[in-house]
């Protein structure tokens, strides 16, 4: 089977407000990898994810997707990417199901109602489909965002603090889900302080010290 994920960053450096967040960072993500980015608050974890998703240009270094510079292969890259950011991308005025339907459309994926319901059920939101996100808790909103993992089939997941605000049961589910994704040949890059149960499966990258 062809390699689906090949994201490589070399000699990456990022400067923010006259301060180097990181320099000479090398990183490689391929099929089956689960990469955890750790580091103190303000060490540039979210910034690194923004660089890797092409939202920010790096100060130095290059990022390649299948050997091509990210800027040039942007469209191909985005059609393989599922990104859940720091803000979950859930509109408070819309119901759980409407939010998810829109997210699927933005990802360019057809999402019939049964699929939406199945995805919401998988994240423990069965019965909450028609409740506006405004009335849901922070954890439940985060779960709406995570329901995309079930709905939108993409090999590369880039997740910013996915474990924030969800309860213990949800953490266990998400952990299993991430490992299952890796085992199925997908790749995950995430920022988190969470220690995995199956920690041997996860590679770690510590920001803030090597700089």
């Amino acid at each position: 089977m062809a390699v689906k994920v090949s994201l490589r960053a070399s000699r990456l450096a990022c400067e923010r407000d006259d301060r180097w967040l990181f320099r000479a960072l090398d990183l490689r993500v391929e099929d089956g990898d689960i990469l955890r980015i750790e580091g103190a608050n303000g060490s540039g974890k979210t910034t690194l994810l923004k660089l890797l998703t092409g939202q920010l240009p790096p100060t130095e270094g290059r990022i390649e997707w299948h050997g091509e510079p990210l800027a040039r292969s942007r469209e191909a890259f985005l059609s393989q990417l599922l990104y859940v950011g720091h803000a979950p991308g859930v509109s408070a005025a819309l119901t759980a199901q409407e939010n998810l339907a829109w997210a699927a459309a933005m990802a360019g994926v057809r999402a019939p109602v049964p699929d939406l319901e199945r995805a919401l059920e998988a994240v423990g939101l069965a019965g909450f489909e028609d409740i506006p996100a405004r009335q849901l808790s922070a954890g439940q909103r985060r779960r709406i965002a995570l329901a995309r993992l079930e709905l939108v089939p993409r090999p590369l997941w880039i997740l910013d603090e996915p474990f924030t605000a969800i309860d213990r049961e949800g953490v266990a589910w998400l952990e299993r889900r991430l490992v299952a994704h890796g085992d199925a040949g997908g790749a995950v890059v995430m920022t988190t302080h969470h220690t995995f149960h199956a920690n041997g499966r996860v590679d770690s990258l510590l920001l803030g010290e090597a700089a």
Binding site: K4, K50, T53, Q55, L56, E75, L78, S79, L81, Y83, G85, H86, A87, P88, G89, V90, S91, A92, A93, L94, E98, A101, W102, A103, A104, A105, M106, A107, G108, V109, R110, A111, D115, A122, V123, G124, P132, A145, L149, E150, L151, V152, P153, R154, P155, E169, W173, R176, R177, V179, A180, H181, A184, G185, G186
Partner: protein, 240 residues
């Protein structure tokens, strides 16, 4: 809670086209607007208040009012549009939806255009439809009504498109409202001149056609260029 759905990399999730993406975007905007309710009425209220208060402040003399009516209605409509623009991308920026749009494989300018179309449908079009009622309050001569509606319908669409560029550029700023006004007002002036000019020409028995044609040309230009400017503005301000 199943960890083994395994479909993450299989054939599930049929791709959809650009059109379906736009439809989803439009439906989302309409739903959000419907649930916010109040924001919809604000521009209309503003226009109505200006028009109702103006004769009280100046003079209820029909001749005087009729002579200022085209300009007054147009200025009030333009400011009403400006007021409604600040929030165009703000909510999406705060809840992270904008990030999802930026990372969508669908072309961003088209998604932005869908958003602007909804903005015009919910602010510009109601203004154009209600303006004749307010024209009556200002004793606007009968010959001006059609030109008023047409010029507002065409002009507010241009205002939505241009204003969205400003809204995109200022979305990352904590109080972008003032800057937004400063950015877009100079670009609004041609629309105002030709818009009010069309109504005035119709009242004075001349032809509104040329001014309306120019408004149409401005709209065509804005339609072609603004979506790209909006998308570029969003990329700049989200990553600032």
């Amino acid at each position: 809670m199943s960890a083994n759905s395994g479909g993450s990399t299989t054939g599930r999730g049929e791709e959809i086209g650009l059109w379906a993406g736009c439809v989803a975007q439009v439906r989302r905007e309409l739903k959000i607007a419907r649930r916010r309710g109040g924001d919809l009425v604000n521009p209309l209220m503003f226009l109505a208040l200006v028009v109702v208060l103006f004769p009280l402040g100046i003079s209820p003399e029909p001749d005087l009012l009729a002579s200022v009516a085209p300009g007054l209605l147009w200025v009030a409509a333009l400011l009403a549009m400006l007021l409604s623009l600040d929030g165009l991308f703000r909510g999406d920026h705060e809840d992270g939806s904008l990030e999802q749009m930026l990372l969508s494989p669908l072309p961003l300018p088209v998604l932005c255009l869908a958003k602007v179309v909804v903005h015009w449908l919910l602010t510009g079009l109601p203004l154009a439809l209600c303006a004749p009622l307010l024209g009556v309050l200002l004793a606007l001569p009968g010959a001006g009504y059609l030109a008023l509606m047409l010029s507002l319908a065409l002009g507010t669409a241009t205002l939505s498109l241009i204003g969205a560029i400003g809204a995109a550029l200022t979305v990352g700023l904590p109080r972008g409202g003032v800057l937004l006004s400063l950015l877009v007002l100079p670009l609004y002036i041609p629309v105002l001149i030709f818009g009010a000019g069309a109504v005035k020409a119709a009242i004075e028995g001349g032809m509104a056609g040329p001014a309306l044609a120019l408004l149409g040309a401005l709209l065509a230009l804005a339609l072609a260029a603004a979506p790209f400017a909006i998308a570029g503005g969003l990329r700049i301000s989200v990553n600032g």
